[in-house]
Amino acid sequence: MNTAIALSLAILFLAGVPIAVAIGLASIIGIEFQGRLPLLLVAQRMFTGLDSFPLVAIPLFILAGNLMSEGGISARLVDLAKSMVGGIQGGLACTCVLTCMIFASVSGSSVATTFAIGSILIPAMVKHGYPTPMAASIQASSAELGVLIPPSIPLILYGVATETSIGRLFLAGIGPGILIAGALMATVLIMCRLRGLGREDGDDRPPFSRALVRALPALTVPFVIIGGIYSGVFTPTEASAAAVAAALVVGIGIYRELTFANLPRILKRTVISTSAIMLIISAAALFSFLVSRSGLPNEIGRWVGAVFETRISFLLAVNVMLLVVGMFVETSAAILILAPIFAPVAASYGIDPVHFGVIVVVNLALGMITPPLGVNLFAACAVAKIPVERIIPQLLWFVLVVFACLMLVTYVPAIALWPVDALMGPR
C-alpha cells in the first residue's frame, strides 16, 4: 500500500495537481489498494483533521497579518529599523533584515513578509544603487524569519501534528530567528563593504525617538502575542484572536489607514489563503492516518535506529533529508507528513521534541529560498520584477549563511531551548 501511495503522490505532484488534491487522491488510491478500509474515511479524516482548536490560530494569524500590512504597519516598521541600523554603509540592506525580523513577529508566513516589506524596501534599495538581483535575494532570505519568529504557521502545524506545546515551540523559534537575522546582517554588511555599495544609505533617515513613537502601536501586537502566550494568559489560538482585535484597533483607530472599504478585500484574500493551506492540512490528516496505520513509522524508526548509531549522525541525516524535501515539497505538507513519522524517532535519540520542531522548520525555511520550489524566491522576484534565474548567483551566499546557522541550531540545542527553559521552566 505504501509504495502505491508514494508512487501516485509523486506522479500527481509532477502533473501539477494541487498539492491538497494530490495528497487526497493518493490516500484514496491507498485505501482502494488496501481493500479493507472504507472510503468513508476520506470524509471522516479530512473533517477531524481540521476539527481542532489550535488550528483556528492559522486563519486568524493570516487575517491579523493582512490587516497589519494594509493598516500602515509595514512603512512604520521600516522607518523604525532604518532609524536603528540605517546610518552605516549598507544600512539599507541591514534595515531590510531587521524590518523582516520585526514584521515576522506579527506575521506567521514568510511569503506575506516578502510582499509586505519587499514592496517597500526592494525599490528603495534599487534606488540607492543596489543591483536588483541582490536586493531581491536579501529580501527573499530575510523573509524566512517570518516562519521562525512567533507567530509561525509551520510551528503551529508541527505542534498539532506531534502534540507538542505550541507555546514552547513559539519561544524556541526566537533564538534561531535572532541568530539568522544577525548572521544575515553581518553578511550584507561585509558584501556592501567589499562591493562599495550603500554609501549614502544614511540619508533620509528619521530620528530614532520619532520612529519609535510612530511604530509603538504596531509593536503592541507582538507584545500581546508573545507576552500573552508565555505568561500563560493566552493559548496561541486566543492570542491569534487578540492579535486580530489589536490589528483592527491599531489600523482603524490609531494609524487610520485601514478603512471599512478595505475590509472585504482583506477578508477575501484571507479566505483564499486560508483554504489553500487548510485543505492541504485536511488532506494530510487523512494521509498521515493511513501511513501511521500501515506501521511505516515504526519500520522507519527501526531502520533509522539500525543505520545511525549516534544522535549526531541521525541529526545530520535528518537535515540532509529535510533540505532535499524542502526544495521540492510545500512546507505545510512536508511538516504534516514527516513530523509524525520522525518526531518519535528523534525522541528515541533523546532529542527534545521542541528542538526537533525548530530544526524541521529551519530546514524547510531554507527550502523556501532554494529552487525549484522556493516560494520566497518567486515572491521576491515578483516584487522586484525580475526572472527567478537572475537571483540565483546572488542567493548562494545567503543560502550558505543560513545553512551554517542551521548547523548551529541543530548541534547547539541551547539556541532554541534556552528561552523556553528560562521562561516556561524545563519540561
Binding site: V42, F47, L50, P59, S240, A241, S275, A382
Partner: protein
C-alpha cells in the same frame, strides 16, 4: 453552453466566497468571545469553542471554490509550464479532471458521512453534527463548478507573477 456555465460559476463561487467570509468573521468573533469569557468568567464556555472550530471548517470548505477560481491552490506548476504548449495544456486539463474526480469522491463520501452522523449532537450546543459535516459535500459541489469553469478558461496567464493577488502564502 460554456457561457451558461461561466454565468452559473460566477454566481456559485461568489456565493461561496461571501459565505466563507461570513464564517471567517464568525470564527474570529467566536474565538475573541472565548478570550473574553475566560477572563470575565474564568472558565471558557464549551459551546463557543465548538462553534469556533465548526465555523472555521465551513469557511475552509467554502473557500475552496474561490481558491480554485483565483488559481490559488498551491501546486507544482513547473512541469506543466516547461512542457511544449500542447502537451502542457493536455496536462493542465488532466490535472483539473483529477481535481474534479477528487472533489466528486469527497462530495459523495461527505454526503454519506453527513447522513451517518445525523443522530449525533454537537457537545454543548445541541444541534446535529451533520450541520458541520455538510460543509464537505456543499463545499465540494461548489468547488467542482469552479474547477470546470477554470479549466475552460485555460491556464492563468503569467502564473507565479501575480502570487500576491492570488493570496498564496
Amino acid at each position: 453552453m460554456t457561457q451558461v456555465l461561466h454565468r452559473l460559476e460566477s454566481w456559485t463561487t461568489g456565493f461561496a466566497m461571501a459565505a466563507a467570509v461570513v464564517f471567517l468573521i464568525a470564527t474570529g468573533c467566536l474565538a475573541f468571545f472565548q478570550v473574553i469569557t475566560r477572563f470575565v468568567f474564568d472558565s471558557p464556555s464549551t459551546w463557543s469553542e465548538v462553534l469556533t472550530r465548526s465555523s472555521m471548517i465551513w469557511s475552509v470548505f467554502l473557500g475552496a471554490a474561490p481558491a480554485f477560481r483565483h488559481g490559488s491552490m498551491i501546486a507544482m506548476e513547473i512541469v506543466q509550464r516547461s512542457l511544449p504548449l500542447r502537451l502542457g495544456q493536455w496536462l493542465f486539463v488532466t490535472a483539473n479532471l483529477l481535481s474534479i474526480l477528487f472533489f466528486a469522491i469527497l462530495c459523495w463520501q461527505g454526503v454519506a458521512m453527513t447522513d451517518r452522523v445525523l443522530g449525533q449532537t454537537l457537545a454543548g450546543v445541541g444541534i446535529s453534527i451533520a450541520w458541520i459535516y455538510a460543509a464537505l459535500p456543499v463545499g465540494s459541489a461548489l468547488t467542482i463548478v469552479a474547477i470546470l469553469a477554470a479549466m475552460l478558461r485555460g491556464v492563468p496567464e503569467e502564473a507565479g507573477l501575480d502570487a500576491e493577488e492570488r493570496g498564496i502564502l
